[in-house]
Structures are given as C-alpha cells and as structure tokens.
Symmetry: C2
Amino acid sequence: MDFSDYVPSVSVDCVVFGFHQNQLKVLMLKLKHLNLWALPGGFIENNQSATIAADKVLKDRTGLEGIYQQQFHVFTDPERSQTSHIEQLISNDVLDKDVLGWFKNRFISIGYYALVEYSKVNKPEPDFLSEKCQWVSLDELPELMLDHEEIIKRAYVRLNQDLYQKPVGINLLPEKFTMPELQALYETILQKKIDRRNFRRKILSLNIIIDTKEKRMGSNNRAPIVYKFDKTKYHQVLKEGYHINLF
Amino acid sequence: MDFSDYVPSVSVDCVVFGFHQNQLKVLMLKLKHLNLWALPGGFIENNQSATIAADKVLKDRTGLEGIYQQQFHVFTDPERSQTSHIEQLISNDVLDKDVLGWFKNRFISIGYYALVEYSKVNKPEPDFLSEKCQWVSLDELPELMLDHEEIIKRAYVRLNQDLYQKPVGINLLPEKFTMPELQALYETILQKKIDRRNFRRKILSLNIIIDTKEKRMGSNNRAPIVYKFDKTKYHQVLKEGYHINLF
DNA sequence: TCAAAAGTGTTAACTGTACACCCATGT
DNA sequence: ACATGGGTGTACAGTTAACACTTTTGA
C-alpha cells in the first residue's frame, strides 16, 4: 500500500446520518477481528480538497453522489491519534505491517456530517479495514475507535443547531414525503414534541415544499398529503437561513 | 530553521478582530519587502492541539493570553498553496532558501477567529516574515497573501452569525462599557441600525451585564451608565446560546 | 360506523417594533 | 438655559402557543 499520494497528517471523517423508523442512524464500520467500530473516513489526495475527499468516502460507502455534506469541526487533540487498533489489525493480517509507518503519524481529522436518504443506501460497503458497514442507531452506539464517539456527538450537536437555521433535514427524507413524516424527523433531531398544527403552518410558510396533489394511502386514517421540495426556493432558503422557533 | 517539530501540511490562521472608533479591525502583518499582507498564523507542534497553536499565535502577536477564539473553517483547496511570496522572501534574504522545501508543501489551514479588546493590544509584534503588525479596517483591506481575504470574509460571516446566537461581542469591549458602546459594536458587526430603546431592553433581558453604579462622565450629555459582565451568567448563556432578533 | 390520525381554524399570550417623553451633563 | 444624547414607558402589530373541531381512510 502506498500513501505517498495523500496529504500527510490529515484525515477526513464522515458522520453519515440517515432517518429510519423514527430514529436517527449513523453509518458505521465494524473493524475486522476487533470489537470496535469506526466512522467512514479517508485521506486527502495531493490534488484534492477535503470536500472532494469526503465526497469520495461517501460515494465509496453508500454508492451515492451529490450527498449533502457539511464540514463541522476539526479534531486536533494530539492524544486522539492512537495506533493500538492498527497494530491489532496488522497482527490479524488485515493490514500489512509496512503501513504502520503511515498510521503512526499523528492525524488531524476534518469532520463532515452528511445527510442521506436512508432507503437509497441499499448495500453500504465496508472498506479494507472493516468487515461490515451498517446503520447504527444514535442512541445505541457500540464501542468506537479513537475519538469517533466525540465526533458523532459534535456532528449531532451541529446538525441540531443547523436545523434551527436552515431546512437541512429535508436531505434525510425521500423525494416525496408527508407532513407527519417531516414532523417526526424534526422531533427526532430536536428531541422535542412539536404541536402538529403549528408545525405545519410554520413549514408551509417557508414556501419550500409543494403539494403534489397525491395522498399517501394505506393506513387506517385520513391519507396525508404528499409533498415534495421546491428545489429552487429550498436552495435559496438554505443559503440565506432563517430561524424557526420550535422551542 | 527546523520544521521537524511541526505537523506537516497543516497550518493555523487567526483572524483577530478588534473594535475601535466604531470600526471592526483585523490584525494584519505586512510582509517584508513585499506589497502583500498576511494573517497571523503558525504551525502546529507535534504535541500541540490546533487550539494551543492558535493561542501561541495570538500570544506572540498581541502579547495577550486567554483570548476568546473560535475555530470556524478549514481551508483545503489545493490551489490555495502558492509559494511565489516565499520565493520572493528568499530572494530578498528574509528567508533562508533551505525553508523552501517546507513551504513548498501543500498546506491545509485551520481558521480561527479571535476577539480581543483593542486597547489591550499595545504593540502588536510582527513575525519573522513581516515588517509590521497592525490593525487594518475590515472595509479597507490591502492586497492579501494566498486566500487570506477569503479567510477574513468567512471569519466575519461566522462572527456575524455567532452574534445572533451568543453574546460573543462582549469580548471586543473593555471590562467596563456603556450601553451605547455595546450598541455601536452590534450595529457595526451586524451592519444595521438598531433602535436604542429596544436594544437596551433586549440586552438587559439576557441578564448577563450588571450596572456598576458608575457613570461615564465627560461628554456634553447625560452620562451613560457603566456596565460590566456577569461572568458566571455570561458563560452560561455563551454555552446555551439564544437568539436575539435584531433584524 | 368506528377508531385513528390528518387537515383546518380560532383565540389568547407573548414578543418585537415604533414611537415620545423626560433627564443628566458640559458649555 | 440649551443642545446633546442617554434613560424610561407605552401602545400597536405581528408572531407564537394552546387548543377544538371536522374530514378522510381502512377495517
């Protein structure tokens, strides 16, 4: 393995959020032969920006392109770099021992959070260090490598803050969705109950979603209206920001 | 010069804001023999976090410790690294040519903004590359090295956003200040006029400033009340955040 | 026709906004 | 005593919050 194409000392870690069964999930990798989980991550090629590097990580794990991503923090504590898991991976023949030199470097990691439509991630792909890649519920995190738990926590805090400013949550839903679905998403991320009627009014007043004139049939109650985003207005609001008072 | 103590490929740049004569100023360095200005910056020692490295930059330039600082963005565009100014500094004998190897690296820079009390910075110190270090008004920026103009712009955008969420502006004022002074600061940063009476009410309702029972004498009008921060409550609010509607 | 959950509307409480007036200070 | 600008109060408008009723769907 040759790491000379990568910027030394810098890595990228992605906290990929998905929303399923009214739970916020994170895409995680289970390391081979170790009882440890890790965030999808990678290194930055010499001619890449970190954003492009993050795009590649996202593409490799989820198969998707054009995912919404947001750089949220850089993790620079010198204590965050540990190689014990790398050494174990080497002794389990997962990694060749000539890579230890690279991993012995201290790494500064740029944290991105990404929002994906859960159902579009059909078969998340593990990387060369891991045996599986799967969704893990945010409130049932397993034991994580290095400072990855802190990275997730911070990503979540930032997502939470951002949701008050911009309609980012929309990236977690499929193209078509109902008002109750959108509300469940907001309630999950913000961790508070919101009045159904007030929520609807506020969201509609943003003028970023459109009634498709369809209804979601199939349940034992009145069929909710199916909406989709008004992409033009959505991007406008995303840029400008707003403040929804959902306290 | 020996750079082996530093983390390769990573630098720290600080946008140091000060407030003087109702203007927002930034601390800038004038490069030796070049008609170019630069932000205070530095590299990260092997056992330092980026925050500590930024602290050192701030200490070296301003002489102050414990300055309020906030990491706001990482600049990773591969095109941002250029060495033409370094080469010119070498040909002017400012730098020894054996440092070119280090500076030829591509750098990823972690941007911090810092807020200091203008009057406490008595004699800003240039670094080894620069001939002077001084305050420059935000709206009269000279020609800047690399992407430093973009870094400043982004720092300002972030400061602006943060001011709506947390009472950060306080760090730009001396320990004791009056309501009109605080308002002038807000109006400058937010770039909008605010109604005097409404401003006062909102700020006071945050309960983070205390009437010192003193008055600022000396001008031809009613002497304004002198306030100071309630540090305990201030730090609490800083952590929790709020939203002031000053639109 | 019933339960469940969605759509719609109304009012009271609160917050923000736009003002006018009075007061202290130095000349 | 007057000009200047700071401190205080108040009423209106706009927004948010709390809540009740009607409608649609599948069983």
